[in-house]
């Protein structure tokens, strides 16, 4: 659009149409129910588009590593009631993206998986994804509780903390996460303060 046309349209866009233009894209995503591959419809600069496309086309984790990540995501946040699991909303793929996007996470993640695999082989003679679910839980129980874990598994504790962090962030930044949390913002409204009954509860 030429600059002059742009200016002509400013009043229209700014006063009435802009919000309406934004909303259909949002509801499409909501209808899709999970993160959708889409081309930079959130105000990227040309350099940012290039970087994101490069990251999206790269692969960091091996299939074996992804299998471990997926199993851990499933243990950390399984489906509950009508709310899907972390795996169902694509958290493993999100973690892979973060590893590519934030290179400082690569060694803790890859190294953590290696530590877990080694620990699993020591205890049960097999890769983490090949042992029984009960044995997987035995391992997870040893590293999921920082204050109870033995110093010998502190590397596993740090890795599990990181996996818990990324799984929770990955899940709660999806539409299913918003629903589980009851987040009802990010939409036009008229703020008039907290509901009267809430204020009353706290004597305000």
């Amino acid at each position: 659009m030429k600059r002059r046309d742009l200016i002509k349209n400013i009043t229209l866009t700014s006063v009435g149409l802009a919000t309406a233009q934004v909303l259909p894209a949002q509801s499409e995503n909501i209808a899709a129910g999970k993160p959708k591959k889409q081309k930079s419809n959130y105000g990227r600069t040309p350099d940012e588009v290039k970087r994101d496309e490069k990251l999206a086309s790269d692969t960091f984790f091996t299939p074996g590593e992804m299998a471990v990540i997926t199993r851990l995501c499933d243990i950390i946040l399984p489906a509950e009631g009508s709310s899907p699991s972390a795996v169902q909303v694509g958290v493993p793929a999100f973690i892979e993206f973060i590893a590519k996007d934030m290179p400082y996470q690569q060694v803790p993640l890859r190294g953590g998986i290696m530590w877990l695999e080694n620990y699993s082989r020591k205890l049960f003679g097999k890769s983490f994804v090949a042992i029984t679910p009960a044995n997987q839980i035995t391992i997870v129980d040893a590293i999921a509780y920082p204050e109870l874990a033995t110093p010998a598994v502190s590397a596993g504790v740090a890795f599990f903390n990181l996996m818990r962090d990324l799984t929770l962030t990955g899940f709660y930044t999806t539409e299913a996460g918003f629903e589980d949390l009851g987040y009802v913002g990010n939409r036009p409204n008229n703020w008039e303060g907290p509901p009267a009954e809430v204020l009353k509860k706290f004597n305000f």
Binding site: K34, Y42, I98, D165, W191, P194
Partner: protein
């Protein structure tokens, strides 16, 4: 690459460098008065209402990193391009000193990243030197700027409340938004501790003020730019309306190299810039030159504008340019409020920022540091983004579930869903922003032998905090802890102590730097007179925060706007009187 130097055919009435708060206001005021103005912006075009730029109302899952800050320092959805590091545009600091320089290369500059906090300086803020014996007074006082603060309030729009506090002058306010729940807690704690907690003063339209801008629809996302123009950014509120006058020629991707002068008269004749798309050198001729490139960028530009007549750089007979660089102090603390656990859900987004703040409330004569600070607050049931839910093992073992049961910290499975839900909206944060002592020994200068990718010599910084700022940060930390405990909360993490200067942020991190092109009545100690006009070059003006002698305990954007409007009106008067 094109080494031929191009020249624009037109001689403009005014050329302005930089499209942020200062440059935008000058462009608006001058074009409305009928001047033919050329506005140069180093970065790209930007309009918060144009879908190609919009990040507002996007959901976190539209970003593959869920809004994390890998590419933009304040996250994927922040409107501002640029940051503390820009490829090909380096700067350095003298060993043992530190300064972080945030630049936003786009229309509107850094008005695309800020909290819309719009505070007037009070009468005392212009005369800290004579009041405290430390530092200098301004060559102007509150009464000089008051009419321009008033006009800025009406032109741009600001909400707030009339408080009748001497050094927190009231403006012409739209109604402030009601407090969020945690803000009620903070207000109550502040009242008990005799710390004032009053409605914020933000340039957000809680009521419409004209037909060209909408009013706030409470998405809490001002930092993303507003597609209804319901908050202030220089692009939507100043530059785009200036373009509609037909008097503005906006040139984007124009990285200015130097101010050109006539060696015979000593007057500015225009500027030369590098077209960052083609790398061509272009010069723009104008009868007056106005710099609004940001404090450090304007200083750099003047220091780089050396000639036989101006061997120390332009307008720098005093040698003061670059000196007295000062950024706000900043320190923060967060807390967890158990009585805010298991909250009822409702849309608590509100406006883009805190609905309350605490202006400085104490007398520095009774304290061991010379300047004050204000407090900004955070909290509430905000939209999840990258980082949400992290660190759960730090709190989920400490608090019993509704059935009275406690579980060991960390864990996995369905308890984590309950943990996320019960802790949601129970965290609060507070951050102090304070006035530093401007020092001659804190400065930027041209880095010998270093250039950026456009061949423009770069800056080297020399900046160290003094005891006053460190003690002020200590006072902030004590206050934060008192407030959090008074609200029934638990301060998180360890209280920052002397080993970290009490959590005092490094210089430049708060992005409120001012003072590098000082104004004053004495040409031997200042670069500009009280109208922000160069003592040495009468058709050269600076309208960013470079001219400011000090920065008060207030964020400076509103003062940049009012000062730029005042200087622009002075330019119009001087032109009418045939003086420049």
């Amino acid at each position: 690459m094109n080494f031929q130097i191009k020249e624009t055919p037109e001689i403009f009435d005014v050329v302005i460098v930089g499209s942020g708060a200062g440059g935008g206001m000058a462009a608006y005021t001058l074009t409305k008065a009928g001047a033919k103005v050329c506005l140069l912006e180093a970065g790209s075009y930007y309009d918060p209402a144009d879908p190609q730029y919009i990040t507002q109302m996007k959901n976190p899952w539209e970003s593959p990193r869920r809004g994390a800050s890998s590419t933009r320092p304040f996250g994927d959805f922040d409107a501002a391009y640029g940051g503390w590091q820009i490829d090909g545009e380096p700067y350095s600091a003298v060993k043992g000193t530190e300064f972080h320089w945030f630049r936003s290369r786009m229309l509107g500059g850094r008005t695309n990243h800020w909290g819309r906090i719009s505070l007037r300086f009070g009468p005392n803020d212009f005369k800290r030197g004579s009041l405290s014996g430390i530092g200098d007074d301004w060559p102007i006082g509150y009464d000089d700027l008051k009419p321009f603060y008033d006009k800025t309030d009406k032109l741009i729009g600001i909400f707030g409340s009339v408080e009748n506090m001497y050094n927190e002058p009231d403006g012409i306010f739209l109604p402030p938004p009601p407090m969020r729940l945690h803000e009620h807690f903070i207000k109550k704690a502040g009242t008990n501790l005799k710390i004032p907690v009053i409605p914020s003063r933000l340039s957000i339209l809680t009521k419409p003020i004209n037909d060209e801008r909408g009013s706030c629809f409470y998405c809490s996302q001002c930092s993303r730019g507003c597609n209804k123009y319901a908050d202030f950014s220089s692009s939507s509120v100043l530059v785009i309306p200036a373009m509609k006058t037909g008097n503005l020629t906006l040139i984007n991707h124009a990285m200015v190299r130097e101010v050109l002068t006539d060696q015979a008269t000593g007057l500015a004749t225009g500027v030369s810039y590098v077209d960052t798309k083609t790398m061509a050198e272009v010069s723009v001729r104008a009868k007056r030159v106005v710099l609004g490139a940001s404090a450090c960028e304007s200083a750099r530009l003047l220091l780089n504008s050396k000639s036989a007549r101006f061997p120390q750089g332009l307008a720098n007979t005093s040698g003061v340019i670059g000196k007295y660089l000062n950024d706000s102090t900043g320190a923060s603390r967060s807390g967890f409020v158990p009585s805010l656990m298991n909250r009822d859900r409702y849309n608590e987004d509100g406006v883009g920022g805190s609905h309350i703040y605490s202006p400085w409330w104490l007398d520095n004569n009774k304290l061991d540091f010379a300047r004050g600070y204000h407090i900004e607050y955070g909290g509430g049931m905000g939209m999840p983004g990258y980082g949400f839910g992290m660190g759960m093992q730090g709190s989920n073992g400490k608090y019993p579930y509704p059935n009275g049961e406690k579980l060991p910290a960390g864990g996995y499975g369905s308890r984590l869903r309950e943990d996320v839900n019960r802790f949601y909206g129970a965290h609060i944060g507070m951050a102090g922003r304070g006035e530093p002592i401007p020092l001659e020994t804190n400065y930027c200068e041209i880095d010998p032998g270093k250039v950026d990718k456009y061949g423009i010599p770069t800056l080297r910084f020399h900046y160290k905090w003094s005891e006053h700022e460190i003690k002020q940060a200590k006072h902030m930390q004590d206050t934060f802890e008192e407030l959090i405990i008074e609200m029934g909360g638990i301060p998180l993490g360890n209280k920052p102590g002397p080993e970290t200067n009490y959590g005092l942020e490094a210089p430049g991190k708060i992005i409120h730097e001012v003072g590098t092109v000082r104004m004053g009545d004495n040409p031997n100690r200042s670069a500009l007179n009280k109208y922000q006009q160069a003592h040495d070059v009468k058709n050269l003006f600076v309208v960013d925060a470079g001219p400011f002698v000090s920065q008060g305990d207030k964020n400076v954007t509103w003062t940049i706007l009012a000062s730029s409007m005042r200087t622009s009106e002075y330019i119009i008067d001087q032109v009418k009187a045939n003086k420049i």
